[in-house]
Symmetry: C2
Subunit: 126 residues, 2 copies
């Protein structure tokens, strides 16, 4: 089901992603929006925005769910296939716009590659 109505909650979440490059964990987002909207609403809006091709999700450490804005995606096609990076010092999570080549396997078909890199980000390199 696509989004039909422009509600207050929707535009709040939308503007958060518009003004932000780094990814955002759902847990943090729910916390940040406490008072503005219910956590169920947060989950539902994120799900719809992902279907729409506005944001994409991936798993961080411990399987926590993260979202980041998409670049050239639509509801039909998601282009945001790239590794994600998690800084072990400050906890920041970012999309890396690089291509990591996955070898071909004789006896398997690979459809997707979820890659989570961990290390120190620019700010934390010191």
């Amino acid at each position: 089901m696509s989004i039909k109505r422009k509600t207050k909650s929707l535009s709040i979440i939308l503007s958060i992603f518009e003004n932000r490059d780094a990814a955002l964990s759902v847990v943090d987002l729910v916390e940040e929006l406490k008072g503005d909207m219910n956590k169920t609403t947060v989950y539902r809006i994120l799900e719809r925005l992902e279907n729409e091709g506005t944001i994409h999700s991936f798993s961080g450490t411990n399987g926590l769910k993260w979202y980041a804005k998409c670049h050239q995606c639509s509801s039909g096609h998601h282009n945001d296939v790239h590794p994600h990076f998690e800084c072990k010092d400050c906890g920041k999570v970012e999309c890396l716009e690089v291509n990591i080549s996955i070898p071909n396997f004789e006896n398997r078909n690979i459809y997707t590659a979820d890659i989570l890199l961990k290390g120190q980000c620019t700010d934390c390199l010191s």
Copy 2:
């Protein structure tokens, strides 16, 4: 804390991994061992075997925890750094003994790369 005593529960879990190449999700293992031991015991033994370097863990889809046996690891050093593969048809999860090269980044230090490949396994290629 290292394992001090060879108990029944420990050897059950140990033999399961010895006789198995594919990875095993904790959820499935707990289910399989229902009747033999408590789930808390399963979690604790897995944790100890991982510290010991006998098995290693990683996250599958939805952040579910999986374990597979190690090859040349010890409590000090884990060599099992490799991608994991999850078959979207039969659900089987395997360790892939290949090296996927991660590029160097100017402004970041990468320490680890968690890679989860998804596709069709040999059996499911048909």
